[in-house]
Amino acid sequence: MGVAASVDFRSVSVEPILHDIDLHIGAGEAVAFIGRSGAGKTTTLRLVNGLVKPTSGEVFVDGAPLSSADLIALRRRTGYIIQGSGLFPHRTVYRNIATVPRLLGWPDSQIRAAAEEILAKLDLPLGKFGDRYPRSLSGGEQQRVGIARAMIANPSILLCDEPFGALDPIVRRDLQDAFVALRSGVTIIFVTHDVAEALHVTQRIVLFDGGRVVVDCPAAQFPAQRLPLVQHFVEAARI
């Protein structure tokens, strides 16, 4: 297992989207970012692996400022799972999963063993799926491969940007369960619109509105918050 890292945002702004964000995310915590489209949650997520740079303020990973960090090395120990999976269409499932271990210089035998292990946990046996190309997989299977690719090298941080957003509800539920079973020893930031998903997958919910944090509380307490926006999200999640 990897060693989870803490993430801190100190007065971080990304004008004109994000204003003066202060957040501490402890090592090993699982936090959901919720908010409407354009509220700033994805931008905040992308600050953590340097895909977005702050216009002011500073982001810290394990206390080290990102502005002077080796971003390539940081990204190799940061998993990234996105909607639509972002799998390399020209590479087999196995070669997709092997991407980060290969960049890290793992020997082939170690990569194969790790791939076998993580794919088994995700119910995609390597022998059956390893040589297939992403386009021959269903949306749910592609996303499982996306999870395996992000987690194979035991990342310290896992960034998830609506990873299950495009999937049908049953597949979605299965994947959430598989995800929960896998996560340990990693700090998770999980962007979603869905409060039920946030409650299921994380322990803490941060609500964004207009580029600011408006609620930050333990997940279980989120539905009880009185803010109209909270109630709007909670009602949307009810059946």
Partner: protein, 201 residues
């Protein structure tokens, strides 16, 4: 006669292969460069486009007086063919790289691929079918333009055609025209197959 046709065909192939080969070596990096820099890329593309617009015989005429690269002969023909082949190769490299799914690129960057690795492992392989399509167009056009190169002493199959026209000898004309047509069709078929193979992955 048969030996002459074979020799001219060989010469024709060499002229086209050398020029398209050099055009690939220049055009692919140039296309990558254009894909990285939006404004400079547009200017470069317009320049390459302008060269393509010059009628081929006029381009030969313009190159002959140029010192070092000009003069009468095969060298001038090759230089002109390189300039001609550049446009489809540069444009298709640019289009191919720009056409890579941004979500895939995003994932690549986020996994810690360096710019070089992203280019080599993601952008170029995914752009390859489009780049090969550009090479196919360059080759087929090159085979055609190379027949005209005979007019400036460039050799190749055009020699028979021009001689046949001058002597009103249909057999001589066809001795150049038929192999040239077959070369173009053959190159088109082979490179189309390669393109399809690359698309299938």
């Amino acid at each position: 006669m048969t030996a002459d046709i074979l020799r001219a065909t060989g010469q024709h192939i060499v002229i086209v292969a050398v020029s398209v080969g050099i055009a690939i070596l220049i055009g692919v990096p140039l296309g990558i460069w254009c894909a990285r820099r939006a404004r400079a890329g547009r200017v470069m593309l317009r320049l390459v486009d302008a060269i393509q617009t010059i009628p081929s015989l006029a381009l030969f005429g313009l190159l002959i007086p140029v010192p070092f690269i000009g003069g009468i002969g095969m060298r001038t023909a090759i230089v002109a063919l390189i300039l001609y082949s550049l446009l489809p190769i540069v444009r298709n490299t640019l289009t191919g790289i720009r056409g890579v799914d941004p979500v895939v690129l995003d994932a690549g960057v986020a996994m810690g691929l360096t710019d070089q690795q992203l280019l080599r492992e993601v952008e170029l392989p995914l752009a390859m079918p489009v780049i090969v399509a550009g090479i196919r167009i360059a080759t087929v056009v090159g085979i055609g333009v190379a027949t005209i190169a005979a007019a400036i002493g460039g050799g190749g199959l055009g020699v028979f055609i021009f001689r046949g026209v001058a002597m009103v000898d249909t057999r001589l004309m066809l001795a150049g025209a038929i192999p040239a047509a077959m070369l173009a069709l053959g190159a088109d078929v082979v490179l189309t197959l390669l393109e399809r193979h690359l698309i299938k992955g």
